[in-house]
Structure formats: C-alpha cells, structure tokens
C-alpha cells in the first residue's frame, strides 16, 4: 500500500517594520556594515529591557486577519532558551502558549484543484543574528573562527504554523507561494526566500498502513522553492525506503544540503534540547481590542485570491491567465489600468503575460520600473483592437519606445504606424502593384467567386503589410472594391 505523505509547514516572515521587534534599531540590515544595527537591547546588554514595536503587532494582526485567524486579546510572550552564538540573550522572545492569531486557513490551487490548508496559528517572535565564516574585508576565517553579526538579531518575524494538511511537494510549494503572495499584497513582508525574509521549515511524515500518522521529521535549511520541493521528494523516498526495509524512523530534525541533495540528521546536537519555555515577565500582555482589530480589518484591501476570481469574472480570462496577472499586485494593477484605457482584456492579458513579462525578465526589473506606462500600453493595444495597426507593428512600436526611449506617439511615427498616412493616389499605386503581383487572386474576385470575401481580405492584408500599417484598412478595402468590381 502506498503511504500517504503528510506535511506541515512553518513559515517565518520578516515583517516590514522600520525598526526591530523589541528595540529601535533599523531593520535595513542587508548590506549594512556588521554590528551597526545594534543597541543594548538586541545585544542583550545587562540592564536592557525589551520594548514592543507597535507596527509589528499591527502587521501580525493584519496578516492574521487575511489568513482568517482569530485574533487573540491579551496574548503573551515566552522565552525559549538555547545557547548559540547568534542568540545574545540565550533565549528567544517568542509566543508559545498564547499566539496573537489562532486557527485560520489558506486556500491553494494545485493542478486546477482547490484545497484548503488549515493553520494552527500565527505568532510573533524575534529573529537571530547571523554567523559569517568570512570577514567583510574578505579574509577567510580558516579553521579557527566564525564571526557573529547581530544586525539581523531582533528583526520581527511572524511565524505561520500550518496544520499537517499538505500532501505533496506541489501543494507545499503552492502553499508557500500563496503565503508569499499574500504577504506582498499586504505589504507586511518582502517574502523573499533569496534574502531570507521568507524562510520555511518542513515537517513531514508518512502515514502508516493503518492510517495512523508516522514518525515526524523536521527539515530545516530549505532556502528556495526548489529546495523545498527537492527536500520533500528526497525525504519521501528516504522514509519510504526505510519503512520498506522495516526500519524504524526517529523523530528528529534534519538539515537539507542543497549541494548534495540530501537531508542530514542533526542528531546528537539537539537530543539534549529542552527549550524551557516560560512566560516573559519583562513584557505585559499584548492588548488588541475589538475596535483595534476592526480598524485593521477595514484597512484590508482586495485579497489576491479575490482579485484572481474577480479578474476571471470581470475580464472573462482563464484561471491560468488570471493567476499570472494577479501574482503580483503591481502587475494586476498595470493590467487593470491598461484595460481602463479601452484595451481589450484578452489582448492586454496576452501582452502583459508575454511581451511585457519577457522584457521585465530580460531587463531584470519590476513592473513599477517598466518604461512603458500602463496607459501607453493600453492605447497601443487599443490600436490593435481597432485594427489600426497589426500585432507585429505594435511590437515594433513597443521596441521603439524601449530602445529609443520614445513616447507612444513618437514611436508610432517612427515606425510609420500612423493610420491613414498613406492615402489617396499613393495608396492606389501600391494597391495597383499588389493586384499586379496577385493577378490570379484578382481574377477570382473579379469573376465573382469570392463569395465569403476571404480573397479580398487577403489582398487587404497584403496592402496593409506593404504599407506597414500606415494605410487606413477601410480605405484599402474601398479602393480594392472599386478596382476589382
């Protein structure tokens, strides 16, 4: 019998505050000189006391509400004890028995199928510092030392703990992506795995033949979506093989090694661990009254999944298209602005998903830094819709705008893509030439055999191409009709 895979995820999101969770140090630590974003509180200097950041509470509540959690009043912090170089107090201030947000769920779509992943809770805690094995001046530490930088220490984190509702690596990825998208929509976190503002730990077990849950293994150090997928697949295979061989699995923490593609036991290291959680008495209960929660609730904008569904409904686009367009709020907004200019939703969706996205990828920029504004693109697409210009021409225009840094009008001009510019006598000469070249087709039309009008449209297309779209297609048709009837 095939064993079922049971996965729970713990996601750590760095909250986008200006200052740290319990002190006023700046959170702008990436690339900062080591140990500059530090103060007595985050260095655990004797006599210092933690001071709770209001904004961090607000962001946690916001995220909790968006995740359908129950926001709890009077929640507390606990101390979690362990000695390590990155933890100055030798305890982490975290929430244990009383998290600020309990329950909740996230809906994900995997291979077109909807699935609800329930959450255990969301809590606030402080981040640890960083160990470096090479100093800033590039000296390799050799064998003797490691170096500690507390700039990250004390950064506010919200830890989102899911229930073991996830049953495959694909679902795990979709879940992480959904949380990440939400965090970005709400602007509560950058949600970047690369820079570490989103980190995930995976709990995985295989259910036994009798349906009971097997031994749970925690995997740490999965630093990208790809490594989450690989680590889960590896662990499923490893656990299955062990169970097939009649081995007993032990509950443990394993580290994913991206280079070798295996998980490794941390046994021995953590066996003696006992975090000795108890109430943090340097901080009083956190008050979040109904009015406070209500105010934050009212500030919530459209959720990404709401936007996705609305786009399908309102713009008659497919689920896949809508998912792509709503993946980033800025892209979704760009799309809507584009449509507002009168461009057709379908064509706008296509253009943004293909042309625009590939340019963004190429230039390695975000949509907000894209040279072409949504309204310009909208106007351009509208011209295609109106058959003022062809798709090909529009692409040329877009390139001209980007390469030569032109406005839409100037680029149209540059590409000669101004409708009706070639008209009258000049147009008649071109049409005469086309008819000359396509004499067979012309004969069919003249003889009245072009009942569906396909042949005349073909000639119209040739003329339009010849004029690079600079003719008015209606005028072209009129002239063709005169000449061939």
């Amino acid at each position: 019998m095939k064993r079922q895979v049971v996965i729970g995820l713990e996601i750590h999101l760095q909250l986008k505050t200006m200052s740290k969770l319990f002190c006023s140090c700046s959170t702008d630590y990436i690339g900062a000189i080591p140990n500059t974003n530090v103060c007595p509180i985050c260095l655990a200097v004797p006599g210092s006391l933690p001071l709770l950041n209001d904004r961090a509470v607000e962001l946690a509540v916001k995220l909790g509400l968006a995740l359908h959690c129950d926001i709890q009043d009077n929640t507390r912090f606990h101390r979690k004890h362990y000695f390590y170089a990155d933890l100055p107090k030798a305890y982490q201030i975290t929430q244990f028995e009383y998290p600020i947000a309990a329950g909740g769920y996230v809906d994900i779509i995997v291979e077109g199928k909807h699935k609800r992943v329930h959450l255990d809770h969301l809590h606030l805690e402080e981040d640890a510092g960083k160990l470096v094995h090479q100093t800033s001046d590039g000296r390799l530490s050799g064998a003797a030392h490691s170096f500690v930088d507390y700039n990250r220490g004390g950064m506010p984190l919200s830890e989102i703990v899911s229930q073991p509702d996830i049953n495959s690596s694909a679902e795990a990825i979709a879940y992480v992506e959904q949380i990440r998208q939400l965090a970005r929509y709400l602007k509560v976190s950058d949600g970047e795995m690369e820079s570490g503002s989103l980190r995930a730990d995976v709990n995985i077990s295989l259910s036994n033949n009798d349906g009971s849950l097997g031994t749970r293994v925690e995997i740490k150090n999965v630093n990208s979506l790809k490594s989450i997928e690989r680590a889960i697949e590896y662990e499923i295979a490893r656990q299955n093989k062990a169970l097939d061989n009649g081995e007993k699995l032990i509950q443990e923490t394993r580290l994913w090694d991206d280079a070798t593609g295996v998980t490794r036991s941390m046994r021995g290291k953590e066996s003696a661990s006992d975090y000795r959680y108890y109430l943090e008495m340097d901080l009083a209960p956190i008050e979040v009254k109904p009015e406070y929660i209500k105010k934050i609730y009212q500030s919530l904008t459209e959720m990404p999944w709401e936007k996705r569904d609305r786009f399908i409904e309102q713009y008659k686009i497919s689920l896949e298209e809508s998912q792509q367009l709503t993946e980033q709020l800025e892209i979704a907004n760009y799309f809507e602005e584009c449509v507002k200019e009168g461009a057709s939703p379908g064509k706008s969706a296509n253009w943004i998903r293909s042309e625009v996205q590939s340019i963004l990828r190429e230039q390695k920029i975000d949509i907000i830094n894209f040279q072409v504004s949504a309204s310009e693109l909208g106007k351009l697409i509208k011209k295609i819709d109106n058959r003022d210009i062809s798709n090909t021409q529009a692409k040329d225009v877009l390139s001209a705008m980007l390469d030569k840094n032109l406005t839409l009008d100037n680029a149209l001009e540059e590409c000669g893509a101004i409708t009706g510019r070639i008209t009258g006598e000049a147009l008649e000469i071109i049409i005469k030439k086309i008819i000359g070249c396509e004499s067979e087709t012309a004969e069919i039309i003249r003889s009245g055999q072009d009942i569906k009008g396909a042949k005349i449209k073909f000639l119209q297309g040739l003329v339009m191409r010849e004029t690079r779209g600079s003719a008015d297609p209606i005028e072209v048709l009129n002239i063709l009709n005169v000449k061939l009837n």
């Binding site: 001071l51 107090k89 500690v148 000795r276 340097d282 901080l283």
Partner: protein, 492 residues
C-alpha cells in the same frame, strides 16, 4: 561642618540656601569614605572625578540662580548592579569585573536630574545572590554597627554606607529582601516599593517579575523625597506602570494613625525569632495604638507556609534565564575554548562564583521538562494564592507588621544550620516581592549591645504613600537611627 550627620533634606536645603556648596559637601563625604572604607569595604568604586564635575556644575547653576531639584548637592551611592555611564558595573562578580556600561540606569538619571551627586558604587553579593554581602569578589563588607557582623545582603554595601554616614541616601535592589534585610541589619531605613513603581531599566536583571529598586536612608522623610524622584513611568521599562504618582513627601507629614487599621502577623514559629525582634514588634504596636490605630492579629497561612518554596522556584528559574546572556562573547569574562560550547562553559565557570553557578543549575533544572510541570507551575499558582491572600487582607487593613529577619545580624562567616531559621530567613521578606507589594524595613531601636532592632511594614499594591505615611508616624515615636559611631568601632 559634620555633613555626614545631616539628612538629605538638610543638605539640599543648605545647598539651595547657599549655606554651603555642593563641592564642600561632596569633599567632606569623599573624605569620610576614604578614611573609613579600607576597613568597612562598603564601596567598590568611587567616581570622584565625575562627582566633582557634577558638583561644580551644580554650584555654577546655583550661582546663576537656577531652580534646583529636590536633592540638590546630595551625594549618593548605588549598588554595583546599577548601570552607570562610563563607570564600571561589576555586580561584584568576576564575570563583569571590567565591564563599563555606556548608559545610566533610569534611576541614576532621575537622581542626577534632581541634583543628587553620584559618588560611586557599593558592594553586594555576587549578582545579588545572597544575604550577607560575603560572596562579593571584592571581599565582605563589615557591619558599621558591629564590625564582627555582616551587613546583610545583597545590598549590604548600600546599607552599610548609609549607616556609616558615607551618604544620606543609597540605592539598592530587592528581589526577595535585598534592600530590607541589610537595612535592618545596619540599622537604617529601607524600602522596596510596589512592583512597577520605579523603572528597572539599567539594573542588571536577576528576576524580572520580582526585582524592584528602592532607597536606603536614615529617615522616612528622605525616603519619601527619593520616592518622589524615582517613582516615574519610564518608556524604557514596559513593566514600570504609567499612572500618576502622588507626592510621597506630602504623605509623610501626618502625625497620627487615627482611622488606620494595622494588622500584626501571627502563625509563624516565634521560637525561631530573636526575642529583641519580637519586642520591637510589640513596642511598635504600642506606638501605633498610641497614635490612634486599630490593631488586629492576622494569620496568612499560604504565605507563611509556602512563600519560600514558591520564591525559590520563581527566583531561581528566572535567574537561570537572565544570567544566560553571560557567555563570554560580547562583554564580561572570557576564556577561549576549542568550540563554542566549551568557550561558554569555561567563561561561565570561571566568571561566576560558586553560589551563582549553583543557583543557575537549580534554576535550569526547575525549568526542564517534568520539573517545570511539577514544581514551577505549582509555584506560579501558589504565587497567585499568596497575592490573593494579601489582596484580601488589604481590603480591610491598611498595613501589616511583621519581622524582617528572624535574627539579629549574623556573625561573619556564620552558616545557619537550623532549617527552620533558614526558612524564616526569607519568608517574611519574599512575600512582598511575590505579591508585588510595597514594604518598608523600619529601624525602631537598638539592643543594649547596640544591634539594630526593626520591623517590617507591608501595604497594598501601589499604596506606597500610605505605607510611607504610617512608617513616618512610627518613626516619630521610635526616632530615626543616627550614624554609626565609627570611632567606637575603631574605624575612624
């Protein structure tokens, strides 16, 4: 001028009234300290230079006609677990022997703002763990009332300093009696205010939910002034309550106790308490009656029976947590190790003294699985029961009188072996910390041998001014203690 005999108020009045300068006062006190302290060992660090600068600034301000604070020109000392900007703060431990904080504790800031002049740091039990001031790496402090005895602890240096006339005010910290017991032993007045009354910012932490700092003085009036200076909300301490404090000095102007109901504690083994201390309670009760108070006897069974066990669990558990930050890395004593954990172990082993390491071990044990559920969790419940017991009592009663310590000051190097006495050693003082109550250790006289006798007063949460008021009435009857006669003791 014998400044050392004056109260803080008299000194400040004189400075403000230009009867004398802050510099004169300071010089006189520094001289006294330097003369006496080679013997007493109450002070571990003097900051003469800073003190002289502060005094000079103050005198200049007076010359300019500026308005001065309540403690203008009053020299003071603080226990060596208060962080002082640029002045080493050792906690009397090898661990922090060379550590120089770069900031002042809020209490220090407030004292300075009121015009008080910081002269230095006083001796204590290592990391405030002890009640004799003998576990200090600087060696023991002697009791100025009797050099063969200990000054109590852990704020022994501060209490001895005030008794010896080094300063009219010293500050201490009290986790389970560490201000009140040494004040009692040295024959001065000490107060542990309500939890949340004074900022703990800048006090090297021991037990987050029990620690509270407070004044040691030779009279209640000075104590009330210090309370006016220190009791303020502080944005650097989330546990310092933000409520409007009354004027504590206004509260100590009363001369009678009419309408007050005062309880006297019973239900403890009186055999184990020194007779002179029981007499002190009886005398105090008489004073209270004369002043018009109604007296009743009460028994607080949960507190009497379980306070010490409860206190140990909470105090040691938290101590193991608060002292975990000393890992020999960012500050403090360091020893190399071949790996991270060996470095930690070596640094902590050599940096902490015996008693501190023992307490960390017990505390760690209490918080581990199994012990936590079976010992720590019950203790936290007992703590609530004790708090409730006091809250009930103070619904109808204004104050409670009980002993501080069961004994007079111990002889140096004395080790108690009677377990009942050991238990009583902490039972009377630890309840105030567990329940967060204000408590005053009040000297009410001396034995024929010259050893101080005293009583403890406890009051309802955040009713510190009421407690000060009652204490001042009793003090009017008993008289406030004078400076120890160091010439008799051969110190001078």
């Amino acid at each position: 001028m014998e400044f050392y005999k004056l109260s803080a108020k008299e000194i400040a009045d004189g400075v403000r009234g230009k009867k004398w300068t802050a510099k004169e006062v300071l010089t006189s006190f520094l001289t006294r300290i330097k003369t006496c302290d080679s013997k007493l060992n109450a002070v571990v660090t003097l900051c003469e230079k800073n003190a002289h600068e502060d005094a000079k600034k103050l005198d200049e301000a007076i010359a300019r006609g500026e308005t001065l604070g309540l403690l203008a020109g009053v020299p003071f000392l603080v226990k060596d677990n208060f962080c002082t900007d640029g002045i080493r703060t050792t906690c009397a431990s090898k661990m922090l022997h060379d550590w120089i904080p770069s900031y002042d504790a809020t209490a220090i800031k407030n004292m300075k703002m009121a015009g008080a002049i910081l002269m230095g740091k006083t001796n204590m039990d290592e990391f405030a763990m002890g009640n004799t001031t003998e576990s200090s790496i600087f060696g023991p402090t002697l009791n100025p009332r009797d050099l063969t005895r200990v000054p109590g602890g852990s704020s022994g240096g501060s209490a001895a300093a005030v008794a010896a006339g080094y300063c009219p005010i010293a500050l201490g910290s009290d986790t389970g009696g560490s201000i009140r017991q040494p004040a009692a032993f040295c024959g001065v007045q000490g107060m542990k205010p309500s939890y949340g009354q004074i900022s703990r910012y800048g006090i090297v932490g021991y037990v987050s939910s029990l620690d509270q700092i407070g004044p040691i003085t030779r009279n209640i009036n000075d104590m009330a002034i210090v309370m006016d200076v220190l009791a303020k909300a502080d944005e650097n301490d989330s546990t310092c309550d933000a409520y409007d404090r009354p004027s504590f000095s206004a509260a100590v102007k009363k001369t009678d106790l009419k309408g007050k109901k005062i309880a006297v504690l019973t239900g403890f083994d009186k055999e184990c308490v020194d007779k002179s201390l029981l007499d002190a309670i009886n005398t105090t009760v008489q004073f209270c009656c004369e002043a018009g108070a109604e007296i009743i006897e009460v028994n607080l069974p949960t507190a009497n029976k379980h306070a010490v066990a409860c206190y140990y669990m909470i105090a040691l558990g938290d101590a193991s947590s608060k002292l975990a930050c000393y890992d020999g890395m960012r500050y403090g004593y360091h020893e190399d190790g071949k790996n991270l954990f060996e470095m930690y172990k070596k640094s902590r082993n050599k940096g902490f003294g015996n008693e501190v390491r023992r307490r960390i071990l017990i505390g760690t044990c209490i918080l581990t699985r199994g012990y936590y559920e079976n010992y720590y969790v019950p203790a936290v419940k007992v703590r609530q029961m004790i708090a409730d017991e006091y809250a009930d009592l103070f619904k109808t009663v204004d104050a409670l009188i009980c002993p501080i310590s069961p004994t007079l000051p111990y002889k140096k190097g004395y080790v108690e072996d009677d377990s009942a006495t050991i238990y009583l050693r902490d039972v009377f003082t630890s309840t105030a910390n567990l329940a967060g109550l204000p408590s005053i250790s009040l000297n009410v006289g001396f034995t024929p041998e010259g050893l101080p006798t005293n009583i403890q007063l406890l009051g309802p949460r955040f009713d510190d001014e009421n407690l000060l008021s009652i204490a001042s009435v009793i003090e009017n009857y008993a008289g406030s203690p004078s400076v120890a006669d160091l010439s008799v003791e051969g110190v001078l």
